[in-house]
Symmetry: C2
Subunit: 119 residues, 2 copies
């Protein structure tokens, strides 16, 4: 069976989303899911992912990634990887378009807000 | 021990490279290595990675990803994921700056050219 590959444009994928906090799967790599999501004016509670590292890449906008030891500004074209077990929270002011990467099954309403939805 | 996180800017990281075909590690996520690399005017031989999917993200420039069934143009801000076991080769005309992601230990001179170097 032919396995046809697809090209994905990060900004186009993010711009197609018509609701906030909906995670759209745009890729799968070695058991890690690549999602685009739009977030606006939201601070999550501090939380940990005990089994997965987590990557935040900013497609457009910016946010603050907070750990118990740091406050880090992440802007457009930049990423930060939070190792598993490290307590953290994203603080988003304004509208920010993200690419997120983590192991399949990591995200849920507990760690991603009550409006979390995976498509 | 405090574990300090780092922000990485993809274009800045790629622009810091002073040689082609040198893969600079800029992140590690669940056993997958994130490298930036600059490539110019080069076609690799068809090859497979039997144990790892592989992501090509174009930071700047463009290239053709060829499989036995497809020729796909991948431009700036776009990515393609080649599932493990799928024969492929990148065809690069001009200078292209990549983010590459695959399992640690996947890349070598056999599948990445004789000038391959990991730093």
């Amino acid at each position: 069976m032919k396995q046809l590959l697809e090209v994905k444009n990060l900004l186009h994928e993010a711009d197609q989303m018509d609701s906030l906090y909906t995670y759209k799967k745009i890729g799968l790599l070695n058991g890690n899911i690549f999602n685009v999501v739009q977030v606006a004016d939201r601070t999550l509670d501090f939380h940990v992912h005990p089994h997965s590292d987590e990557l935040f890449y900013v497609i457009e906008g910016e946010f603050m990634l907070e750990t118990r030891d740091q406050q880090i500004k992440v802007g457009s074209g930049e990423f930060v990887i939070v190792p598993k077990g490290v307590e953290h929270r994203p603080v988003v002011t304004g509208l920010t378009k993200f690419l997120m990467v983590e192991q399949v099954g990591t995200l849920n309403k507990e760690n991603s807000g009550n409006s979390y939805k995976q498509i």
